[in-house]
């Protein structure tokens, strides 16, 4: 029973991984490739991590696998944002003002604040 579940999870993980990689190869431009990378691949990683931690040799090892997945998820989300923002900056700078790089940085809207966890209404963007 557990075996069948593991096979299923790994098959799904393989599907998502392949989807992410194919997206990286076939999608037309950089920004859409970021989508494929950060979303599909990390879901695949999560499913694979689940399959693997079901058979880990100890609870500590299972916890470690879970932690690695969470870290990969957070890192991927952060790097997706960072790369996308940088990419937008470059295209803005190349298209519009080629002289001042720094003003290009400031014209891109930055989130006014990162909402704290808890029941707090998010502030409006500038």
């Amino acid at each position: 029973m557990l075996e069948a579940l593991t096979w299923l999870l790994l098959a799904l993980a393989a599907l998502f991984f392949s989807a992410g990689t194919l997206g990286l190869l076939r999608l037309p431009d950089t920004l859409s490739r970021i989508h494929a990378l950060t979303k599909a691949d990390n879901l695949g990683l999560g499913l694979a991590a689940l399959a693997l931690l079901l058979h880990a040799e100890s609870w500590a090892a299972a916890a470690q696998i879970g932690l690695i997945w969470l870290l990969a998820l957070a890192a991927s989300a952060a790097s997706g944002y960072l790369i996308a923002r940088r990419c937008l900056l470059e295209s803005q700078g190349a298209a519009g003002n080629g002289h001042n790089g720094h003003s290009g940085l400031s014209t891109l809207p930055v989130p006014a604040s990162v909402p704290h966890s808890g029941p707090q209404a998010p502030k409006a963007a500038p």
Binding site: I68, A75, S76
Partner: protein, 94 residues
Amino acid sequence: METLPPSLPLAFGLFALLLVLNLALGLLRVLRGPGLTDRLLAAQLLGSTGVALLLTLAALQGWPSLRDVALVFALLGLLAAVAYARLRPERHRA
């Protein structure tokens, strides 16, 4: 916990093979990808696939240390992206 059920090494092995295929495809994008950003994305893909591959190998070969390597992989994927995001803005794009 217990030893692996008999069919699982095959499952893990096949999954590892698929990840290797993904590595190869990611390599294609790293070598071809027309810009700096595309190559960096492909490097991130290599990192994520590397994490999955290392976790799978850790189970297949029974080496817990590989999970530590996967942890470091995940961390430095972030470092590379942050370094890229904080590059000095250029006037002309190469």
